[in-house]
């Protein structure tokens, strides 16, 4: 076996369909959705049941920081998968396995940026509004 062949086989392994998932690109938005539902749900119950808003707000702000951290991890992994600095191909328009692999990384990376913006937006009312009025 030549070294070239070996590298190719490793490539095939790396880009194999079994390791890819369409769901992976939605990880960022899923974190956004979870964060959104928790913020809305917990605050709605807090206001309806008269729980202590200050404590809940502090908890949710920490949770928001955690959500942003989670999205950052997803985004970093996606950036590595896109690997644009290495391939120098931001478009991935060809139908090869590695193009599909880099493309999914690119899409996941862009979606994690949008998700991060979404989380920041949804956190703003927690920062700016001080109570249940």
């Amino acid at each position: 076996m030549t070294e070239g062949n070996k590298t190719r086989r490793e490539d095939q392994e790396e880009f194999a369909e079994a390791r890819a998932s369409l769901m992976k690109i939605t990880l960022g938005p899923l974190i956004w959705a979870l964060h959104f539902v928790c913020c809305y749900g917990v605050v709605a119950v807090t206001c309806a049941k008269g729980w202590d808003y200050g404590t809940v707000r502090a908890g949710l702000l920490i949770f928001s920081a955690g959500a942003l951290g989670g999205i950052a991890v997803v985004g970093w992994a996606a950036w590595r998968q896109w690997d644009v600095s290495h391939t120098a191909d931001p478009v991935n328009r060809l139908g090869r396995a590695e193009d599909r692999y880099h493309f999914l990384g690119h899409a996941a990376f862009l979606l994690s940026i949008i998700s991060a913006i979404g989380v920041v937006f949804v956190t703003l009312p927690l920062v700016l509004i001080g109570g249940c009025q």
Partner: protein, 834 residues
């Protein structure tokens, strides 16, 4: 191998066999056709007719409002008109039109012969036709729904007459058809792409279909759950939305808008997907920022679920809650804007030809951007407080829907007409139609911003003079008729006879995607041979592809067994995995749709015996259809798919399209169930007397028994699948005999546990009843499925080797068992916890 010529006589014999297998029925049997090209056309035309009817209603509305203190129609008739205008435009035009267009175009774009479940498409269409005629016909009998298209209780629940029931049952029936289409389209996109079409090179339209199909699965079920509760209140007086007995009208608003806002994007995204097909063609270059469009479609799909409360800004929710939804509403502008900029960038760097479709797309972008800008204003709660329920909203929503849906769809009609009808529409009439519609639209709706800011509320049937609204309304009415003139030109161009037109070129726009390999004159087989695809715009990049398709050099060039077949490929990389036999023409779908219609329509008039009879007959038809046409034992395990590739003819479990359809359907079903559970906790949050003092609770021991029985049923069902696969057929059959008993026992115990509770007394017992009924009905369906498998095993349809049915049934039971156990937890444990 690709370059090897196929002998002429062999190729002709192959083509003849394909033609015979895919022949469209002639004469009066034409209605039995299930081919996507026929069903798609009927679907589009039906949606168009409903749209024109709803448009006529809009004209009457505008005539009534043309001058102050007009008495052209009565207040009651006016209420029916605006309710039906909104309901028909949304449920009978906008959503079905997406499904119709996608069923018509998607197989062509994917180089597939047909959708994976053609009879399901046909069934969905007939349901849509029956339900649509029923709903829209009510206005001719003066009994149409009249509480507004969002049917807010208590107005809608207390409304006398059948109007609200017609809305609820008729549209629930159509929603079932919508979900059927969503399942079909998702599975089609994931599993029926041509070999080599990995996810990074599929047409952008397919990405949008995937996103929108997913959105339908999560958006429609909350409305179905809401309809279920609403109809239980209307028919049996269970007080879900009646505040005097612990109910809450706000729950309806939440469930309606969890559906209603994503629905706006369900309408918008597929239409803008048409723009994503037209723009690269007219710019004569690949789409600039393919990944960015994917980002935008997926991102919008997600964010659009965080907007629903912006329809409820004035309902008195805490301002911090409004803040979350206001923020998300502003955030969704980012992905929406990105796709518009990607289109503009493609046009800027390309060499644009201002064809007729592009003219309509330009109009769409201009109008939609205006609607988007007022959307940004309305997403700010304090502004919304001022403009809420005024004509400013009417202007905003028409700008988004005309710009986001009507204009792109008409662009699509001009663009795809040669593909659909093998004729061209008139350039001159098209420009007339565009300028009339575009100017009429702005004349009608631009002044409404001002009318609204001057304080004119929506839904008023007349208004006094002297408030500054008179001339604005008159201008709007004139504009409405100019739009109508534009539509008349368009419709005439669409339906006028075109026999004398010379044969059109095959790819008149010089586009790069697969649908333009279609045959002119038309052939019903979809594609002569299924190509191997390796780029995003195969017709631009591989000039020899068309000849090879025509010569039958690619996959499945033949129909040796005379059966309809298409290729199934893997989800991510489109590796060929199976030759799928698809179903052909039949009457059974019409019967099934007719009886399903009866089951939904008779309860409107409280005629329950014929409704139950229809329900039973519908189930019989569907069982007959499945038994005779799906998961058939093939004559050979595998067959030659062309190009030296041998593929299996049968698949079970996750490898089969049926398993995916079940998975996706049950995801939607689980969402509806989750909405009911959400309702339970909503009442607990919103109401201080939930549960009310001294309330009876479900019988805890019976609830526990039900949980055990459902768990046992699940183990037996999964056990049957396991034993069957290992050739212990006798053991499997035994499991399939005991499992239904366990399921029926579980359902009985669950209903029994709430039997002593009076559902009309308070919402607390009512929601317990609703959950128990939901699970019992699903268990009933599951029992039928188990007996179906048992019969299959006895009559040789289900064998250890060919076991797709039992895989699908156990998947169904995974979901139903989960919802049964959650119900048991809520019924048994919540009284302790609350």
């Amino acid at each position: 191998m690709l370059a090897e010529p196929v002998a002429r006589d062999i190729a002709e014999a192959q083509a003849e066999r394909l033609r015979a297998a895919w022949a469209t029925p002639k004469g009066w049997r034409y209605v039995t056709a299930v081919n996507n090209t026929e069903v798609g056309k009927w679907y589009c035309l039906t949606a168009l007719v409903f749209m024109l009817l709803a448009g006529v209603m809009a004209l009457i509305i505008r005539l009534q409002l043309a001058v102050p203190e007009n008495d052209l129609v009565s207040a009651d008739r006016f209420n029916q008109l605006f309710t039906m205008h909104g309901s028909a435009m949304m449920f009978l035009f906008a959503v079905p039109m997406f499904e119709a267009i996608s069923i018509l175009l998607l197989p062509g774009m994917l180089g597939a012969r047909d959708m994976p479940f053609p009879r399901l498409s046909a069934f969905g269409y007939w349901c849509f036709l029956i339900g649509g005629i029923f709903v829209i016909g009510s206005i001719f009998f003066n009994v149409a729904p009249r509480a507004g298209w969002f049917m807010y209780p208590p107005l809608a629940t207390m409304d006398e007459g059948p109007g609200s029931d017609i809305w609820l049952l008729g549209l629930s029936f159509i929603e079932v058809a919508s979900i059927a289409a969503a399942v079909e389209l998702i599975v089609g996109t994931l599993k029926c792409r041509p070999p080599g079409m990995r996810v990074n090179i599929m047409p952008l339209y397919a990405w949008y279909v995937l996103v929108v199909g997913g959105m339908i699965l999560f958006a429609f079920p909350p409305l179905i759950a809401g309809d279920f509760l609403f109809e239980l209140e209307r028919s049996f007086d269970w007080p879900f939305f009646d505040p005097t007995r612990g109910g809450d009208p706000m729950l309806w608003q939440h469930l309606f808008w969890i559906f209603g806002h994503p629905e706006v994007y369900i309408i918008f995204l597929p239409s803008i997907a048409i723009a994503a097909m037209v723009v690269p063609t007219v710019a004569r270059r690949p789409m600039f920022g393919y990944s960015w469009i994917v980002l935008s479609a997926v991102g919008t799909g997600f964010l659009s679920f965080g907007l629903w409360v912006h329809h409820m800004f004035t309902t008195g929710l805490p301002s911090i809650s409004l803040g979350f939804f206001s923020a998300a509403s502003e955030a969704v502008v980012i992905p929406t804007g990105i796709q518009i900029f990607a289109f503009l960038a493609t046009l800027l760097v390309g060499r644009v030809r201002m064809t007729l479709p592009m003219l309509w797309i330009s109009g769409a972008l201009a109008i939609f951007t205006m609607g988007g800008l007022t959307g940004v204003m309305l997403a700010l709660a304090p502004f919304d407080f001022q403009a809420h329920d005024t004509y400013f909203i009417v202007a905003h929503l028409h700008y988004t829907l005309f710009g986001g849906m009507v204009f792109p769809v008409i662009a699509g009609v001009y663009y795809f007409f040669p593909f659909i009808q093998k004729r061209l529409m008139s350039e001159r009439l098209g420009r007339w139609a565009f300028w009339l519609t575009f100017s009429g639209f702005n004349l009608c709706f631009l002044p409404m911003h001002l009318t609204g800011l001057l304080g004119m509320p929506r839904r008023v049937y007349t208004y006094p003079t002297g408030l500054g609204w008179d001339w604005l309304n008159l201008i709007s009415t004139v504009g409405a008729f100019v739009i109508a003139a534009g539509f008349s030109v368009f419709v005439w161009d669409l339906i006028r006879p075109k026999h004398r037109q010379p044969q059109i070129p095959r790819n008149p726009w010089d586009a790069g995607t697969l649908e333009w390999t279609h045959d002119v004159p038309e052939e019903a087989w979809g594609v002569r041979s299924i190509p191997h695809v390796s780029t995003r715009y195969p017709l631009w990049d591989e000039p020899q592809m068309l000849d090879r398709i025509d010569a039958g050099r690619y996959y499945l060039p033949d129909a040796q067994e005379g059966k309809r077949e298409t290729l199934v490929t893997s989800v991510i990389d489109a590796v060929p995995v199976q030759v799928q036999r698809v179903t052909g023409p039949t009457w059974i779908t019409l019967w099934a749709a007719g009886f399903t219609g009866g089951a939904f329509i008779f309860p409107t008039f409280h005629w329950y015996p014929p409704a139950i009879l229809c329900g039973v007959l519908a189930i019989c038809c569907i069982i007959g259809w499945l038994w005779t046409a799906t998961a058939q034992v093939p004559e050979a395990d595998s067959k030659d798919a062309g190009l030296g590739l041998s593929l299996p003819t049968y698949a079970a479990g996750p490898a089969s399209v049926g398993w995916w359809a079940m998975w996706i359907t049950m995801l939607g079903d689980a969402t509806a169930f989750a909405s009911l559970v959400f309702g339970f906790f909503f009442y607990w949050t919103a109401s201080p007397d939930f549960p009310p003092a001294g309330a009876l609770h479900p019988e805890a021991r019976l609830v526990g028994l039900a949980a055990l029985a459902f768990a046992a049923n699940w183990a037996l069902t999964v056990g049957a699948r396991w034993l069957n696969r290992r050739s212990h057929v006798g053991g499997a059959r035994l499991c399939l005999i005991v499992a239904p008993l366990a399921a029926a026992g579980g359902a009985t115990a669950l209903v029994w546990s709430v039997l002593s509770l009076d559902p009309t007394s308070h919402v607390y017992p009512a929601i317990h009843w609703a959950l128990a009924v939901w699970v019992a009905v699903h268990a009933g369906a599951g029992v039928i499925m188990q007996f179906y498998c048992l019969a299959g095993s006895i009559f040789g349809k289900l064998t250890p080797r060919y076991d797709a049915d039992i895989w699908n049934v156990s998947l169904f039971w995974h979901f139903v068992t989960l919802s049964a156990l959650v119900t048991c937890a809520v019924l048994g444990l919540a009284p302790e916890a609350l």
